[in-house]
C-alpha cells in the first residue's frame, strides 16, 4: 500500500519570502510523483510532476520540486512567493504499473502582504 504525508497543514509566509512545502511518501514499489494546486473556489490543477530523469523538476508559476529517493521525499519550493500563490497544495503518488493517484492531506499556503 502507498501513503503520502504532508506534515504541514498550514504554512503562513510573507510575500517575497521563500517557501518549502514538505511531502514524504511510503511505498513498497516505485512511484511517480505529482504536486497539484487548488486555488480558492477552483478545481485542482497540475503544478508539476516527476516521472523519470532529473530529480529536480520545474513547474508552473515558478515552483520546483526535488525527488529524493533515499528520503522518499518530494518537497515543493519557491524562492519568492506572491499573494496569488495562496492556495491548497496537494502532493500525490502513482505507483508504477497502476494509474491510481493517491493524495496527501494537503498544505494550505497563506501568503501575507
Amino acid at each position: 500500500a502507498q501513503s503520502v504525508t504532508q506534515l504541514d497543514s498550514q504554512v503562513p509566509v510573507f510575500e517575497e519570502a521563500p517557501v518549502e512545502l514538505r511531502c514524504n511518501y511510503s511505498s513498497s514499489v516505485s512511484v511517480y510523483l505529482f504536486w497539484y494546486v487548488q486555488y480558492p473556489n477552483q478545481g485542482l490543477q497540475l503544478l508539476l510532476k516527476y516521472l523519470s530523469g532529473s530529480t529536480l523538476v520545474k513547474g508552473i508559476n515558478g515552483f520546483e520540486a526535488e525527488f529524493n529517493k533515499s528520503q522518499t521525499s518530494f518537497h515543493l519550493r519557491k524562492p519568492s512567493v506572491h499573494i496569488s500563490d495562496t492556495a491548497e497544495y496537494f502532493c500525490a503518488v502513482s505507483p508504477f504499473n497502476t494509474d491510481k493517484l493517491i493524495f496527501g492531506t494537503g498544505t494550505r499556503l497563506q501568503v501575507f502582504p
Binding site: 478545481g43 485542482l44 496537494f90
Partner: protein, 118 residues
C-alpha cells in the same frame, strides 16, 4: 466538453436518502477517478475506471457507495442511505491514459459536488 463537468454542483439531502452524483469526463479520456474531499482529510481515493478494465473499488468506504461508468464515458457515483459523515465535496477527474514517461499523465479535475446530509 472543454473540461470535466460534474453535476449537481451542490446537493442537500436528508439522512437516509439516496443520491446520485454525475461526472462527464473530457472526451477521449479513458481513465476516470472519484475522490472525496473532507476538511482536514485531503483527497480520499474512492474508485478508478480505466478503459474496459474492471474498476479499482478499493477506496469505497462502505457498500452504500457504488459507481458505474456507462459506455466508457459518463460516470455516476451513488450513495445509498446517506449519513451525515458522507457530507463532503466529491471530486471527479479524468486523464488521457496510462501513467508513465512519455505518456500523458495529467489528471483533470472537475469543480466537484458539495454534498450536505442533514
Amino acid at each position: 466538453g472543454a473540461g470535466v463537468s460534474q453535476s449537481p454542483s451542490n446537493k442537500v439531502t436528508e439522512k437516509g436518502k439516496d443520491v446520485e452524483l454525475r461526472c462527464d469526463p473530457i472526451s477521449g479520456h479513458t481513465a476516470l477517478y472519484w475522490y472525496r474531499q473532507s476538511l482536514g482529510q485531503g483527497l480520499e481515493f474512492l474508485i478508478y475506471f480505466q478503459g474496459n478494465s474492471a474498476p479499482d473499488k478499493s477506496g469505497l468506504p462502505s457498500d452504500r457507495f457504488s459507481a458505474e461508468r456507462t459506455g466508457g464515458s459518463v460516470s455516476t457515483l451513488t450513495i445509498q442511505r446517506t449519513q451525515q459523515e458522507d457530507s463532503a465535496v466529491y471530486l471527479c477527474a479524468s486523464s488521457l491514459g496510462r501513467m508513465g514517461p512519455g505518456m500523458n499523465t495529467e489528471a483533470f479535475f472537475g469543480q466537484g459536488t458539495r454534498l450536505t446530509v442533514v
